[in-house]
Symmetry: C2
Subunit: 467 residues, 2 copies
C-alpha cells in the first residue's frame, strides 16, 4: 500500500511581487532554498518505496513549468490540467478522481506546491499517522503546532483522540483570529490549518457526493472525460466548468464527520508574504536574511532578495528589499501581507503581471534591451528543444550563437550554426530554431522592425502543440 501524492500547483499570486507574478507564480520559484517549493514538494514524495508516482494538478498557463521542473529532478509526473480556475475543492476532487481511476481505494496525499516544509522525518511521521487514519475512512488534515500566535492563519480546535497516535477528531475549524484571540488559541493547544490532506479516494468521492453533489458530479465527469495530450491529462472542460468555486474547507472539512487532524510538529510555512519568506530563512547575527548578491550594513530584521545586480542596505530596520531585472520593491516587512493590494494598484503596468524573463517549453528567454525600433533577447534552448515553425510580418531577426550549436530553418533551407556564427531571418520568412546538441544553446537575438509585439507571430508547426 503506497500513498498517491497529489500536488496542487495551480495557484497564481502576487503576494510575493515583484518576484512572483501571475506569469510565473511563487510555487515555481526558488524562494526558500535552491529549488522551487514545487520541486521540494516533488522531492519530498519521490521515494518509490513510500509513494506512488505523483499526480500534479495545475492549469494551462503553468503546464510547462510543472513538467520541466519535474523533469529537472528526473521525474515524470502525471500533469492534470484544469480547464478553468476553480478553488481548492474542485482541484482536490478532480485530482482524487484521477487517482481513483488508478485504484478506487488509493490513499491520496494532497499537498500545496507553494508550502515550505522542513524537518523531513517529522513530516513523514505525520504522513504515516495520517495514512493510518485515512485508511480507516478519515479525511485527515495536517494541523501545524503553532510557533507564535499568528493572525494570518485559520486554526483547528482538536476533539477526541483517535486510535492512531497523534490523530484527533476535529472539534471546529476557526477563522483567522485577532491577536488576543490567537494567543488564547495557542495557549489552548489549537493547531494551524495548513491546507494539506490525506484521504482515501473513495471516501473523498463519497463525502463530496453527500455534501457537494454538484461538485462531485462535475469533477468525476471531468476526470472520466480527461484526454491525454503528450505528458498532460486535460480534464473535460465542459464538465469541470460546472464545478462551483469553493474551498475544500467550506465545501467539506467543516461539514464532514470524517474530518480528523494529525498534529504536525515539523516547521512549515505557506510563504504567503515576504514576511513569511523572512521567517523561514536563515538569519544573520542582527536578524537579517539575504538571497542573492547583497551587502548589509548596520541593519536589523531586513529581508533582502537580490535577483539582479548588487543590493546594498545601510542602517535600515524591518524592511523587505526585493530587486529584480525590471522592478524593485522596498516595503515595511511587518505589513508586507498587503503587497497584493499594492500590485492591484499597479495593474496597468506590465511589471505587475509579467516578468522580463519568459519560460517556454523549449527553454527560456530574457529581454535584455529594447529601443523604439529594436529589441534584444538572450534565448536559451535546452538540448532537444525546438521552437515553433513561425513567421513575423513586422520584424527581422539577427541570431548570433554564443554557446552550443543551432539548427536553423529559414524558408526551405536547414543549416547548422555554430558558436560565433550568425544568421539573418528577414521579415516574412518562415523560420525555426532548434537545439539538436547535448548542451544548452544560447543565442543573442536582435529584433528590428516597426512593431515588436509578441503577438506578431504566425505558428505553422509546434512540437509542444501550442495554439
Amino acid at each position: 500500500m503506497t500513498l498517491t501524492p497529489l500536488i496542487l500547483a495551480g495557484g497564481s499570486g502576487t503576494r510575493l511581487w515583484p518576484v512572483s507574478r501571475d506569469g510565473m507564480p511563487k510555487q515555481f520559484l526558488p524562494l526558500a532554498g535552491e529549488r522551487s517549493t514545487y520541486q521540494q514538494a516533488l522531492a519530498r514524495v519521490a521515494d518509490p518505496a513510500l509513494f506512488a508516482p505523483p499526480i500534479v494538478i495545475t492549469n494551462e498557463a503553468f503546464r510547462f513549468f510543472a513538467l520541466q521542473q519535474a523533469e529537472a529532478l528526473g521525474l515524470t509526473p502525471t500533469v492534470v490540467l484544469e480547464p478553468a480556475r476553480r478553488d481548492s475543492a474542485a482541484a482536490i476532487a478532480a485530482g482524487a478522481a484521477v487517482a481513483a481511476l488508478r485504484a478506487p481505494d488509493a490513499i491520496v496525499l494532497a499537498m500545496a506546491a507553494d508550502h515550505v516544509i522542513l524537518d523531513e522525518a517529522l513530516y513523514l511521521d505525520a504522513v504515516r499517522a495520517a495514512e493510518q487514519a485515512a485508511a480507516a475512512g478519515r479525511v485527515v488534515t495536517f494541523g501545524i503546532r503553532p510557533t507564535e500566535p499568528k493572525t494570518g492563519y485559520g486554526y483547528i480546535r482538536r476533539g477526541a483522540a483517535l486510535p492512531v497516535a497523534g490523530v484527533f477528531a476535529v472539534d471546529a475549524f476557526v477563522e483567522k483570529p485577532d491577536a488576543a484571540t490567537a494567543a488564547d488559541y495557542v495557549a489552548a493547544g489549537y493547531l494551524w490549518n495548513s491546507g494539506n490532506f490525506v484521504f482515501r479516494a473513495d471516501v473523498m468521492a463519497a463525502e463530496l457526493a453527500r455534501f457537494q453533489p454538484d461538485l462531485a458530479e462535475a469533477t468525476q465527469a471531468a476526470a472520466a472525460g480527461a484526454i491525454a495530450d503528450g505528458h498532460f491529462q486535460r480534464l473535460d472542460a465542459e464538465a469541470f466548468g460546472r464545478a462551483p468555486r469553493i474551498s475544500i474547507d467550506y465545501a467539506l472539512m467543516e461539514k464532514t464527520e470524517a474530518a480528523a487532524v494529525v498534529e504536525s510538529a515539523f516547521r512549515w510555512s505557506d510563504i504567503g508574504s515576504w514576511d513569511a519568506v523572512f521567517a523561514i530563512a536563515d538569519h544573520d547575527r542582527l536578524g537579517n536574511a539575504a538571497t542573492g548578491d547583497a551587502a548589509i550594513f548596520d541593519s536589523k530584521g531586513c529581508l533582502v532578495y537580490s535577483d539582479d545586480g548588487l543590493t546594498v542596505i545601510d542602517r535600515i530596520e524591518n524592511l523587505v528589499v526585493v530587486s529584480t531585472p525590471d522592478a524593485v520593491l522596498v516595503a515595511d516587512r511587518s505589513r508586507s501581507e498587503d503587497v497584493k493590494t499594492l500590485v492591484n494598484r499597479l495593474s496597468n503596468r506590465r511589471e505587475a503581471s509579467e516578468h522580463r524573463r519568459g519560460v517556454r517549453p523549449w527553454g527560456h528567454y530574457d529581454s535584455i534591451d529594447r529601443g523604439p525600433r529594436f529589441q534584444v533577447k538572450r534565448i536559451v534552448v535546452q538540448p532537444g528543444g525546438v521552437l515553433s515553425l513561425q513567421r513575423h510580418l513586422h520584424r527581422a531577426e539577427h541570431w548570433v550563437v554564443v554557446r552550443g550549436t543551432a539548427e536553423v530553418t529559414v524558408g526551405d533551407r536547414v543549416e547548422l550554426v555554430q558558436e560565433n556564427q550568425s544568421v539573418f531571418i528577414p521579415a516574412t520568412a518562415r523560420h525555426r530554431l532548434a537545439n539538436p546538441g547535448r548542451i544548452p544553446l544560447e543565442i543573442i537575438e536582435v529584433q528590428t522592425g516597426s512593431y515588436l509585439g509578441e503577438d506578431d507571430i504566425a505558428r505553422f508547426d509546434d512540437v509542444y502543440r501550442r495554439a
Copy 2:
C-alpha cells in the same frame, strides 16, 4: 568689463553612490533637473553680455564629459586639464593663472560644478556685488544665508560692512559646528561657506605669492607651460605636481586680509549627500521626492531615484531608495552622509567605482548582458563620432545596426552598413566603427571569445588622441 567664469569640475566622489561613482561623478549627472549641475553652471554664465567665455578645470579622466556636455549646450569652453589630483587651492590658482594669461586684471568667478543654485536673479545680484568688491581688490566668497542650522557646512562670521551693499569683511571662518553651536551661529547671522569665489586674477596671484609661495610658483609655471591639445589645455605636469594639496580656505581665505563675503540669498545646495538631493527636490504632499519611474504608496519623507526599471515603495519613511542598472541602495536618509564610508567597504567590487554604462568621446555604451564566453553591448555613436582603429586578440565581434548608418572598416575594406544589416569582425582583424550620418548610430555588439576584458585592445589610430 566682463567676468571670467572658472568652473571647477575635477571632483570625484561616491557620496551619491550608486549613481555617482569615480568613473562618472556627480557634477556630470542630472541629479537635480534635466541637466547635470556642470551644465547648469555653464548655462548660468552663458550670457556673453555679462560673462567672458568660461574656463573649465578638470582632470584627464573627465575631459570628454566636460567637453561633450558643454557642446550639447552649444558651448566650447577652454578645458584645462590637471595632470594630477590636488586640492581646491591648486585648481583655483591654476585656473586664475590661465585667466591672467588672457588679461592680467581679469575678474574671475570660480564656481563649483557640482552645486545647485536656484533663484537666478538673486544669484546675479550677489555676483554683481562680489564683482564690485573684487574689482577693488577683495577676494570675495559667497556666504549663503542659512535656511536651517546645518552641521555639515562651515560658517562665516561677518565683520564690518564694506562700501558695496551686501559685502562684508570676514571676521572668521569657522569649522563645521555641532547642532547647538550651529543654532547659535544661525541666530547670530553667520553665513554658510559655499566655496564659490570672485577675485581679480592679479590679486589672487599676489595673495597666493604672499601666503603660499610654493603653490603660487608651481601653478603659475603649470599654466605658463600648458600645451594645447585639441580642445584641451594640458597644464605642465612637472610644475603642477609640485603644488601642495591644500584647500583654498586653509591656503588663503583664512589668512588674507583681502577676504570678503557677499551675503547670498539664493537657494543653494552642494548636493553632498542623498539627503541634500532630497532637500533641493520637489516634494509630494507627504514629503516624498522621486526621479524616474517610481510608484510611491503610503510613504513619507522618502527619496526615490529610479534609473532602471520600476521602483515601488510601500509604507516606509525617511529612506533613500536608489536603483541603477547594476546596483540598488536603500539607506536611512538622515544618515546618508556616510554613503562614502559604505562604498569604501565595497571597494573590492567593480560596482563601487565603475558603471555598467561607459561614456566615451565618440558617444557611450551599455553592457546589457554577459555570460562566460560572451558579452552584449549597446553602442551609441554620435554623428561624426569615430572609434579608434583597433584590434582584439581574443574576441570576435558581431555588430547589428539598429539605428542610423555605420561606416565600418575591417582590414582594408570600408563599407556602409545600414539599419537591419550586420557585420562580423573576426578576432585579430583591424577594424573601426564610425558614424558619418546626421543622426545617432546605434548598434548591438555581441562579443564572443575566451577573454572579454576591456584591456584586450590595441589602438592604431585615434582621432581623440587617447593613449
